[in-house]
């Protein structure tokens, strides 16, 4: 006997993500899901964004590291509330994990929540976690072939940050190749080259996010 099913495999995650989106909308909170390989510089980008924006905006951070608390402590030392998610070796976080993390912030009223996803270019691409903006951080030392190798991640993201841009010349990095590959996979993607060492590009990226936050509050 054949049974028609026609149900989306991610339906429970999508449902939970949509519920989170409603909550964040009501509170006027803008949420960024930050993805990328391990060591791409996700935490450094978060730290630089916090430094630029913390005087104007109320920021909260969710850190989903596979192991350790180092990144969470780094962010906490900037005076920013942070919840550490223990993924227990998982390869991505789901909307349910974010929901759980939010319960750990007491009476929260954030303008901006930055979520550092698990370091991985494949798995997080399938899961929305209530975010407004999907950001992938790709670093220069990883090479210029990542977009071609992991198209889905770049297809599902809105913004690509190319970190460690100060070492571009040492790695024979073909920026044109990356931009061409991005054009193929996701013509609408915004690209921000940055360096957390020299501060290059951080102003532009933080202004972009700030504009988005106000856009959301006005909508």
């Amino acid at each position: 006997m054949e049974i028609k099913v026609l149900r989306n495999i991610f339906e429970s995650n999508i449902k939970q993500s949509d519920e989170l989106k409603k909550i964040f909308k009501n509170k006027g909170t803008y949420v960024v899901n930050i993805m990328g390989s391990p060591g791409a510089g996700k935490t450094s980008v978060i730290v630089e964004l916090i430094k630029k924006l913390k005087d104007e905006l109320k920021i909260g951070v969710i850190e989903a590291d596979c192991e350790g608390k180092i990144d969470a402590e780094k962010i906490n030392s900037l005076g920013i509330p942070v919840v550490q998610l223990n993924s227990g070796g998982a390869c991505h976080i789901e909307a349910a994990s974010v929901d759980k993390a939010m319960n750990n912030f007491e009476n929260w009223a954030f303008d901006l929540i930055l979520i550092e996803n698990i370091g991985n270019l494949v798995c997080p691409s399938d899961f929305e976690i209530g975010e407004d903006l999907r950001m992938v951080v790709l670093s220069i030392p990883e090479g210029d072939d990542k977009v071609a190798k992991y198209p889905k991640m770049f297809y599902t993201c809105d913004v690509m940050v190319i970190s460690k841009f100060d070492v571009k010349d040492y790695f024979n990095y073909n920026m044109q190749r990356v931009l061409t590959d991005v054009q193929r996979v996701n013509p609408k993607m915004e690209v921000f080259p940055v360096s957390c060492t020299t501060g290059y590009g951080i102003d532009k990226l933080s202004k972009f996010i700030k504009d988005k936050i106000f856009e959301k509050k006005l909508s």
């Binding site: 049974i3 495999i9 991505h92 494949v122 071609a148």
Partner: protein, 113 residues
């Protein structure tokens, strides 16, 4: 790899449907996934085999059908089916495109007793 998490989601839906239709055993599960997705069917079958042990879907065969990427050219207005990693209009070479298919991931049907 998140094939494990995906398998759990599949099993959840399958058990739910089995309960709804009062089915005793699921023999086959037909899945459709878009070409954009990085799902490896062998990994999925392997993970599902492990987590479905002792459930209504134990031993069920997973059949994955890949759906092509479909684009709409925003310049010439035509729709096309294209090969992976080549997002360009075959007619006018425009890159001003909208992806309108190829990111699906759903359970189409199941064969049951």
């Amino acid at each position: 790899m998140h094939e494990l998490s995906i398998s759990e989601n599949i099993l959840y839906i399958v058990e739910n449907e089995a309960h709804k239709h009062n089915l005793k055993r699921i023999k086959e599960i037909k899945i459709k996934t878009g070409e954009i997705s990085d799902i490896i069917p062998e990994n999925l079958e392997y993970c599902f085999e492990i987590i479905s042990k002792g459930t209504v879907a134990e031993g069920a065969k997973i059949i994955v059908e890949k759906l092509p990427i479909k684009i709409l050219c925003l310049d010439c207005g035509k729709e096309f089916t294209i090969k992976k990693k080549n997002l360009q209009c075959p007619e006018c070479n425009s890159k001003n495109l909208k992806i309108i298919g190829g990111n699906e991931f759903f359970i189409e049907s199941m064969e049951a007793e």
